[in-house]
């Protein structure tokens, strides 16, 4: 057992750090540091910088442009990205759709879709949830009827994150309703420009437009856009959910956030001193920090075991629950840190404008962040469903 970095690891770390320092555009960094919402263009710009360096699709097989890095290197890379406060990588293409394509797709599909994902030419979104099927994903009703060499798709997808920016959507659709609900589900790629696709915003309680309804009205989809066999959708979905959960915890980002909060506690005035003089608050901060250490090393143990030949399975459910609990706890601690200054509400437009904010500069995002983060224990399979998964798969219940 050895948890220190080797010489090569340290060299790699400094290489990553220099690269980010030299290539992270200052105008994006400024927005990120000020809590000004970044645009689609900002995200694409940054992701393309990583693509060009070959550091974007790091988890892919090397043949398709993956990095071939060790678990330790990936750990270092993610930490450096978070430490530099770069925009989160949008996972729908690179971490969700692509693994399905290179695992289940035909050679043609791989050639057609993977390069554009790797190079950030195409923005993907995920068509899983439906109004009637939340955690009970298999109860989905969107129907794809085969007519000749096309599927005619009808249905409604919901909670589709960033669909307003997307070029393509990967969908779970029902191609057969005769068996049990897990059967007859298929995995279909749909060009968002196809007639009959309509996106309608859902505004969430933090006032932001991040998720959408996607209406599919007699959308004609070429049969060649089907990944895997007809009816293989449920196995693909399970494969993908496990992938999704492994990364969902956002540990590196949390490490940066907790350090920032400690910094804030030393700067935020409280009576004649600073917030750090409030022992009850600092106790909570320290508790979260210890919980975060637990989560980080649990993730590392899991990644190590996956890289030793495992496949992300129910362990990813543990990471998902642990990571999302922490995201929520920490976002709540920020709210507490601010006291009354967590309450003023600024819209995205206000934030983009030059108008001076109410309270400390970092305050404007704090409450929206807390409210928005209620979702993390709901999406990607609610934490209740994750507990059911662990009960069944790990405890054998």
């Amino acid at each position: 057992m050895n948890l220190s970095f080797s010489e090569e690891d340290l060299k790699f770390q400094s290489e990553v750090r220099s690269f980010i320092k030299e290539n992270y555009p200052s105008e994006i960094k400024e927005k990120m540091d000020n809590g000004t919402p970044v645009s689609k263009e900002d995200i694409v710009t940054w992701q393309k910088i990583l693509s060009k360096k070959g550091w974007f699709a790091i988890n892919w097989p090397e043949e398709h442009g993956g990095s071939g890095w060790s678990v330790t290197q990936k750990f270092i890379f993610q930490n450096e990205l978070a430490e530099a406060n770069t925009p989160n990588i949008v996972p729908f293409g690179v971490s969700m759709c692509a693994p399905v394509i290179y695992t289940f797709g035909t050679e043609e599909q791989k050639e057609r879709f993977l390069p554009d994902i790797r190079d950030n030419n195409v923005w993907w979104c995920q068509g899983y949830s439906e109004p009637g099927s939340g955690s009970d994903l298999a109860s989905l009703k969107t129907k794809a009827e085969k007519k000749g060499d096309k599927y005619i798709v009808n249905g409604t997808k919901t909670w589709t994150t960033m669909a307003q920016h997307a070029d393509w959507i990967f969908c779970l659709v029902r191609t057969d309703s005769s068996g049990i609900k897990q059967q007859g589900i298929s995995f279909l790629l749909i060009d968002m420009k196809t007639p009959g696709v309509e996106v309608k915003p859902i505004i969430t309680i933090d006032g932001s437009h991040e998720v959408n309804m996607v209406y599919l009205d007699n959308v004609e989809v070429p049969a060649e856009n089907l990944i895997g066999e007809e009816g293989a959708g449920w196995s693909i979905a399970k494969f993908l959910l496990a992938h999704e959960r492994t990364g969902i915890g956002g540990i590196p980002h949390l490490k940066r956030e907790i350090r920032r909060l400690r910094q804030i506690s030393e700067e935020l005035p409280l009576n004649e001193g600073f917030l750090k003089d409030d022992q009850l608050f600092m106790d909570k901060l320290n508790k979260v920090e210890i919980d975060l250490l637990s989560a980080e090393f649990t993730e590392l143990r899991t990644l190590a075991s996956i890289s030793a030949g495992g496949h992300p399975g129910p362990e990813s459910s543990i990471l998902k629950i642990g990571g999302t609990d922490l995201q929520q706890s920490l976002s709540d601690l920020y709210v507490e840190a601010l006291g009354y200054y967590a309450h003023p509400f600024m819209s995205e437009e206000d934030l983009k404008s030059n108008e001076k904010r109410i309270g400390p500069d970092f305050a404007a995002n704090v409450m929206p962040h807390y409210l928005n983060y209620r979702k993390v224990s709901i999406y990607g399979g609610s934490n209740e469903v994750q507990r059911n998964v662990i009960a069944k798969a790990v405890l054998g219940l």
Partner: protein, 375 residues
């Protein structure tokens, strides 16, 4: 000992519940929140006609002699309807200060208008560094000829945008944290040197930041004795803490009801969510927490009514528990609503936002735990 409210109090409660049901459905509330004023001046007049605005004042001030229990009843009912009209800043805080400390002239110029619903007030007691400590005041009021000159900065002035007059706490002597040396001043919003930056809060309420630059006041602006305002400020804020706790408890009750209802209709895996035992036990817990917190509310209201020695300590016990209960019940309600809980569309998220800001207002759980320990 008895926990029963009087027939009059029951009627008051019913009146508000009927008003909410008939005139204040969620979509009406949403329109009000998005309006310029952020609340309805018509409804405010209605509340005046209901007698709500006059409730806590003495008969000689034109009121109904209502006590803490009456305030509790009004605000708990308000909570169930998520009423956004600024009762606490106007009536519980500012009106009470005028009633307790005002000269006849001050009362005459303010209270009748306030009680009729024709005047809006705000109380500026908070500063960025003061957090929840009412004695932490750096805004200064220097004696200046026959009057005063004010300089400083006040944050989080609830109802600031609507206020015709502001009551401002300022230091006339002593150092930053001294309880002695704090005075109150009544200031028109358009006085020279007064500037307000108005803003909206996440919970639909409105507030202002207040900058005071060489604001010159006559001696008639002083409310109460020079340098002796602290104990009265504390007294009205204690009542406001009871009031906002009652509002929170109304909200919690409503959130529990909405959640129970939702889980009974929403199906997943072939059965209603409410049939899953793990969720049932969690709803039992939120139900119990609401009941237990309500018990503390009744205790604190009764002790304030009786002017009991441990009334202030009870308020801190209450607000501590409200802070915890609000977090648990609020977060569980959203979680059990799933994705629907985080949309603007459903009322549950709006109850959650108000409940979340109440966790902080007049002191969060940590603050009141410390205060409880020190008393």
């Amino acid at each position: 000992m008895d926990f029963l409210i009087s027939d009059e109090q029951k009627q008051l409660q019913d009146l508000i519940h009927q008003f909410i049901q008939k005139d204040y459905p969620f979509d009406v509330r949403e329109k009000l929140v998005k309006s310029e004023d952020g609340f309805s001046k018509d409804f405010w007049k209605t509340f005046s006609q209901f007698g709500l605005l006059a409730m806590p004042f003495s008969e000689e001030d034109g009121g109904y002699n209502g006590g803490p229990v009456d305030v509790m009843i009004i605000l708990e009912a308000f909570g169930t309807g998520l009423i956004v009209e600024p009762y606490i800043p106007n009536i519980v805080l500012s009106g009470n200060l005028v009633s307790k400390l005002g000269t006849k002239e001050q009362k005459d110029s303010i209270l009748p208008n306030l009680l009729d619903g024709d005047m809006q007030l705000a109380f500026a007691f908070s500063e960025p560094q003061s957090r929840f400590d009412l004695n932490d005041v750096t805004t200064s009021a220097e004696e200046d000829g026959d009057g005063f000159k004010l300089n400083g900065f006040k944050s989080v002035v609830m109802n600031g945008p609507a206020a015709d007059k502001l009551i401002i706490s300022a230091r006339t002597s002593g150092s930053q944290l001294d309880k002695n040396g704090i005075s109150l001043f009544i200031v028109d919003r358009d006085t020279k040197g007064v500037s307000l930056r108005d803003y909206s809060n996440i919970d639909g309420s409105k507030a202002s930041e207040l900058t005071l630059e060489n604001v010159v006041l006559t001696k008639e602006a002083l409310l109460g004795d020079l340098g002796k305002a602290f104990s009265t400020i504390e007294e009205v804020v204690n009542l406001a803490t009871l009031a906002i706790s009652a509002e929170a408890i109304g909200i919690m009750q409503k959130m529990n009801e909405l959640t129970l209802e939702y889980t009974k209709t929403r199906e997943q895996f072939g059965q209603a969510l409410s049939q899953f035992q793990a969720l049932q036990h969690r709803m039992v817990d939120t139900f119990m927490v609401h009941e237990q917190t309500k018990s503390l509310l009744l205790m604190a209201a009764a002790k304030m009514n009786d002017k009991s020695d441990d009334a202030v300590k009870s308020i801190s016990a209450l607000k501590y528990q409200v802070g915890n209960a609000a977090k648990l019940i609020g977060e569980e309600a959203i979680q059990l609503h799933g994705g629907m809980g985080v949309t603007e569309e459903m009322s549950i998220g709006h109850y959650f936002k108000r409940l979340t800001t109440i966790r902080t207002i007049f002191g969060n759980a940590d603050y009141h735990l410390k205060k409880y320990s020190s008393l």
